[in-house]
Subunit: 224 residues, 2 copies
DNA sequence: GTCATCATGTAAGCCGTTACATGATTGC
DNA sequence: GCAATCATGTAACGGCTTACATGATGAC
């Protein structure tokens, strides 16, 4: 299912970016580093598929992170017009934006069953892009997965070949799984009482149009 | 570095096995399931490389797990003689044993720096095959790796785009890493006082020739 | 002018997976 | 005889990595 696609589309759903910057932001965001050798081909492919498209490079440096207010609208019309034609702005950069098809694809990837353990952290990272029902579905699925694994570890027979290390390993795995399970339970509980008291904090830090996953609300309309 | 090779050689260092059984034992042992599509090619390759070699299929069922006493000797001499020549005994089975070269390769794999998180559990599973110095080296390396990651997670800026899920994720990751770190510290401490009081428990559960680490045995030619 | 960094891309290859093909053995 | 399981293997492909090649920009 490609973790790269998920990461790329997730990031682009928040802000237009070029490949190089994409990588840096991802590292900051989730500690995951995508290699360029996988990132650039992914971008090309996603462009061919119509999930992303090259946009004008309007930022001076490209490093401007999340223009909190609609700063895009802040550029002068003249400036924008000058860049309208150029696919690649300053330097050889190629800035990508997500398309509606890309958002659809992102929604798919976010909800796709994740066998790979590295998928869940990414799904969480972009969980706010889904409506509450989708969030719960993902969390419940993860919960079920963890529960299943825990059962498997506990059922595992730990036979006479068990060395001290194997016993320690089994015990630690069980403990970790149990803790992850409890953690996910907490997340589920938190997701259920969605517009929780602290919701205002969220909508304060992410004012209105910051993320804008049109498909959905992100924060259920600044409830609270 | 191939997790498959490590698992295969590790298991074969304890007992001669055929592919199908290898997979089952691995599932029991570590919950890891290797697909046949990766297992059989690996066995072929390892055989070509001289790390394993096909041996006579002396067991009646092949499923006899760790014949603690020389149950092999239970077969009639006639039966055994009939099978002596055949590379493949009952059924189309091909039973493999590890060679000296294979043991050397195993030692390499066990000590190899493990970037992949799935490698460490496997290394632990076969840690007893190494001398104390090697064990400590592996554990220390893992410790360092975890410490580094923990530092990275804690240094990660958690900027204004942080949603509730991202915050929860970062916190949980840090917590998990800290706990893993403490756990590994415990293992290191335990490894240091190697012949620890409970050592007798180990040698009681693994009587004599069961595991028999440093090079050697496997079955030493239908002994017993 | 030259060095470090930014930036994009391609090529080769590793490691693993699923799906498929084949056949032996045992139990009924 | 038939089905279930045991058992081995191959083919195709997916996703990711490293290493390499290339060039633009800005600092000094």
């Amino acid at each position: 299912m490609s973790l790269t696609d998920l990461a790329v589309l997730g990031l682009l759903s928040e802000q237009d970016l070029h490949g190089y910057e994409l990588q840096k932001r991802l590292a900051d965001l989730s500690g995951t580093r995508v290699s360029f050798g996988s990132l650039y081909p992914a971008l090309s492919r996603l462009e061919r598929e119509g999930a992303v498209r090259a946009v004008d490079d309007v930022t001076g440096t490209g490093t401007a992170p999340l223009p909190a207010t609609g700063s895009l609208a802040g550029e002068t019309a003249a400036f924008r017009a000058a860049l309208r034609q150029v696919r690649r702005g300053r330097r050889g950069r190629k800035v990508y934006g997500i398309t509606d098809a890309g958002r659809a694809r992102l929604a798919e990837l976010l909800e796709a069953p994740a066998d790979d353990d590295r998928a869940f952290p990414l799904q969480l990272t972009f969980l706010h892009l889904l409506p509450t029902s989708g969030r719960t579905r993902i969390l419940e699925r993860r919960r079920a997965q963890l529960a299943e694994r825990l059962a498997a570890v506990e059922a595992r027979p730990l036979d006479r070949t068990a060395t001290r290390w194997r016993r320690a390993l089994a015990a630690h795995e069980a403990e970790s799984l149990a803790r992850d399970l409890a953690w996910v339970d907490g997340l589920i509980a938190g997701a259920a009482e969605s517009p929780e008291p602290a919701a205002s904090v969220e909508s304060a830090t992410e004012p209105a149009g910051a993320v804008r996953p049109d498909t959905v609300t992100t924060n259920g309309g600044t409830t609270a």
